[in-house]
Symmetry: C2
Subunit: 140 residues, 2 copies
């Protein structure tokens, strides 16, 4: 490996407030019956929300803090009857860097709190970035 | 803020090898004329590629290592005639956690090296995660 495999410090910019409390009861994807949730942004990054409005389609990036980082192969959707598959070919939360990608719609904004949905991340999940969807696409 | 705004250590899992060498000459999005590139994965995560094949649509997540992390408002596409906008409403690489999201197609796999395209990240950009697109959508 000739490249530089450094580490980087990711700072939580906010936190998910959700009725979902246990990872094993959370849907695999937002589109599979996940509830709406609030994202509570840190005061230090509130200016980054400027011009975001209800109705916007966003990609929320989370740090799936309860995940295992030492898993490289897994069974799709936890189904042990399926063959082992490399984690980079799956959306498993268990992976070297447990980042979650969540396409959501903004439902309401109150100060530095955003109501979004649907969101399958559990209560207390750290949020690390928010980006606009470049074009609405319900399922990716 | 009642939540826990911790920091997390993100480890590069690989690196981009691209003919693009300067950030100011890179397209804003892969769909805007970006070249194909190789992703050279670290030996320690090679098993995570299992079952990825040429033709697969993936989302590559990078760490945009040349970005500024102290920027909260920016001009869309660097156009100073446009109003300042919160970075979370833009795809600007300058943001508190400079994660890049890149939808790509796998063109070739040789060992732990993946040829993908199009990719607007510059040569040397660290890769931190790879996920499947849940459904092909060319533009998000």
């Amino acid at each position: 490996m000739t490249g530089n495999l450094d580490s980087y410090s990711l700072h939580a910019i906010g936190i998910v407030r959700s009725p979902l409390e246990a990872r094993n009861r959370a849907p695999n994807q937002g589109s599979e019956g996940a509830p709406d949730a609030w994202i509570e942004l840190a005061p230090s990054v509130q200016d980054g929300l400027d011009r975001i409005e209800a109705g916007d389609k966003l990609i929320v990036i989370t740090w799936l803090h309860e995940s295992r980082r030492d898993v490289l192969k897994t069974h799709l959707r936890g189904d042990m009857s399926l063959p082992l598959t490399g984690v980079f070919a799956t959306r498993s939360p268990d992976r070297p860097n447990p980042l979650g990608l969540h396409p959501v719609t903004v439902l309401e904004i109150v100060g530095r709190e955003l109501k979004v949905g649907p969101l399958e991340a559990i209560d207390g999940t750290p949020v690390v970035d928010i980006k606009p969807l470049l074009r609405a696409s319900p399922d990716w």
